[in-house]
Structures are given as C-alpha cells and as structure tokens.
Subunit: 222 residues, 2 copies
C-alpha cells in the first residue's frame, strides 16, 4: 500500500466511524450529512470521493459491521453460535459501527438497503453453525437450521432494540443469557445444555481472551 492509499483508507475509516455515530444517534432519516462531516473533520469533497450519498454512507457502515462476527473456535458449534451473540451483545455497548448497523437494519422500512441488509448474512452464519451442530449430534434432528437461524436473528434484533429503549443496553447480556436458556431446550440434544456457558458475562470474557491471545502472538513475533 502506498502512502496515498494508506491515507485514503484512514480517511474512509474516519468517515465510516463518524457516520456510524450519527446514524446510531439519529437513525437514517434524521441523520444529516453535515453533522457527519463535522464529526469526521473532513471536507465535503473528501467524503464524496469515498461515498456518493447518505445512503451510500449507510451501506458503508452496514458492510463494515458484518465483517466483525468471528469468534474463537470451541468444541461445540452451539457454543460458537451462543458466542457470536454474546460477542455482538458486548460489542453493542461501545462499538458505534455495530450500534449503527443494528439501528440502520431496522430503519429499512423507509430506505431500501436490501443489497446490504445484514439479516441474511447473520442468518447464514447461524444456519451454518446449526447445520454443523446437527452433523455432530449437538442439535436435535427435527430442527430446521435455516428457520431456526431466522428465529435467532429476529429474537436477537428485537431483544437488543428493546434493551436499547428501556436500559440503554445495560441489561443486554442478561437478556441474551435468558434467551439462550429458554431457546436451547427446543434446539439442542438432551445433555448438551449442561455443557454450555450461557452466563451473561460470556461476551466480555471472550473479548478479553481474544485480546490476551493477540498480545501473546505479538510478543512471540517480536
């Protein structure tokens, strides 16, 4: 990457972050491009070099959000599915891109971002983990992975939205923990449930473990 390319990437990221914080606060309709420019401290020209419109900015935020769902592998595919939701629930407390993405995903009644809607991607990831869990005998034979994945995406989306309105997402970890406690008996094979970690601080612990692993790797490389 040349210096110029690096600078362009940095500017683009700054704009996406500023757009995310404005979309998170106001929603798509009420968000203003001039507020995004002010928060990013960039000129109109710099913005239009990367994004052609407010809608394009929203697409940029949405597409960045869905790249952030990787969780560390575990022995159980169901645990990995739980971990994705716990990881996102934790991230929603402070990551403006995630926060804005969930809000924009629900704002789509007015504006059509269907080409960049995160719902199909979230559902695809969940369906893949459920299918793998089924092959390993973790998931009950009668469970349809796609249908159940759509259910999980719907429940998560609504729970975080209600939690945002009622507690500014302070109780989100607990609510997601309750979701899995009530949902999993209808999804996993008998005996699997007791081996899973559904505690409300699971998201925080995954993030810390991942950070520690990265730090150890960096130390090895140095």
């Amino acid at each position: 990457m040349t210096v110029r390319q690096e600078r362009a990437t940095r500017t683009r990221n700054t704009i996406v972050l500023a757009a995310a914080s404005v979309f998170d606060e106001y929603g798509f309709e009420a968000a203003s491009v001039s507020e995004i420019l002010a928060r990013a401290s960039v000129t109109k020209g710099a913005m239009y070099f990367h994004f052609s419109s407010k809608k394009d900015l929203a697409r940029g935020v949405l597409s960045q959000q869905t790249t952030q769902l990787a969780v560390p592998p575990t022995d159980s595919k169901v645990q990995e599915l739980v971990d994705v939701t716990m990881f996102v629930a934790h991230g929603l407390l402070h990551d403006p891109v995630l926060r804005a993405g969930t809000r924009l995903a629900l704002d789509q009644g007015t504006e059509d971002f269907s080409d960049s809607s995160p719902f199909p991607l979230w559902a695809e990831l969940s369906a893949r983990l459920l299918t793998e869990g089924k092959e390993r005998g973790e998931v009950l034979p009668g469970v349809d992975p796609q249908e159940t994945a759509d259910l999980i995406v719907g429940c998560f989306t609504g729970i975080q939205a209600v939690s945002r309105v009622t507690s500014d997402r302070k109780d989100l970890g607990r609510r997601i923990s309750v979701m899995w406690q009530r949902l999993l008996p209808g999804i996993v094979a008998p005996g699997v449930l007791t081996g899973l970690d559904l505690a409300e601080d699971r998201g925080e612990r995954i993030v810390k473990a991942a950070q520690a692993a990265r730090a150890a790797q960096d130390a090895d490389a140095a």
Copy 2:
C-alpha cells in the same frame, strides 16, 4: 354522549388513524404533520384541539394500540399467551395503528415516549399469563415469569421487524409459529406442548371466531 362529543371523538379517531398510517410509512422523525393533516382531511386547528405536537400524536397512536390485546379465554394460559402474539401478528398485516405502534416503539432512541412505551404493558400482560400458567402447573417451576415475558416481547418485536424488512410481514405468522415451537420446550411442563395450537394461521382463525361470536350476539340482541 352529546352530538358534539361524538363528533369530537370521531375526529380524534380519524386523526389517530391518519397519524398511524404516516408513522408506519415514514417512522417518527421523517413523518410530517402536514401529511397527517392531509390524510385526515382536518384543519390544523382541529388537530391542535386534540394533539399539541407530533410527539403527542405518536403518544395517541401508542396508547390506542395497547388496548387491543384481548383474546378469547381458553383452557390454557399458555395458549392465551400464544394467541395474543398470533392475534397481533395477524393484525399487523392490515391494522395501521398496530403497525405504527410497533414502529414507534422502536423509534424511541431519538424521541422519548417512555411514559407511553408499549413494552412494559406487553410484558406485564405476558408475565400475568405466565404466572397463572405456573399456578396451574402448565409452566415449568424454574421459569421466571417477568424475565420470560421480557424475552417474548423482545423476540416478537424483532421477528416482526425483520419480517417487515424482508417480506413486508408476509411470513410473520410462520415466523411466530417457529418462535413458539422452539421457545416452548424451555417454558412449559412436559406433555403440555402437544395440546397447544401453534399453527401459523392461528391468528386468522381467532379473529374469525371472535367476529362470528359477535355476529351471533348481535343477532340474539336484535
């Protein structure tokens, strides 16, 4: 009620309906009062006699929505809880007040309608039915009614929102049916599940049965 009072009530209802259709289409922020006036065919003066602001109109829509959750009694409190969600899922297909209410409830990040938020009322109704179900032995002893009620409200809210974005709510009945199939094994006592009607057309059948009952009553009265 005097003729004048009747006329005022009728005007108020017309305004609430027009406001609902505009809020449903645009969301709170992008909704314009002049569009509401145009759809209601009333003057500004008539509107301000009933509602002091756009926010007040939103409150009017939200408060009307939560009065519509009564379902016919059945032998099972869990079935009644299922029926409330099936009834609302069916109503969301054509009732603008319900549609607008669910949208406004999620728009609350920007505007604070906490005094008229429907979430606590929905959760209260669900918690009451779960508590009664627990007393009758339908609900598992380990299930916390309030926590589980919050879960159901969150799941329902998200599922209808995702269904709105992805299929204009055409698949909502099926999605709610899947929700109960997966959720209930973690909520109801063994054996209860098989006696419940969770079919996706349950909402439509309840509404038709209620209409038939009302028609029979009217015929008796005549």
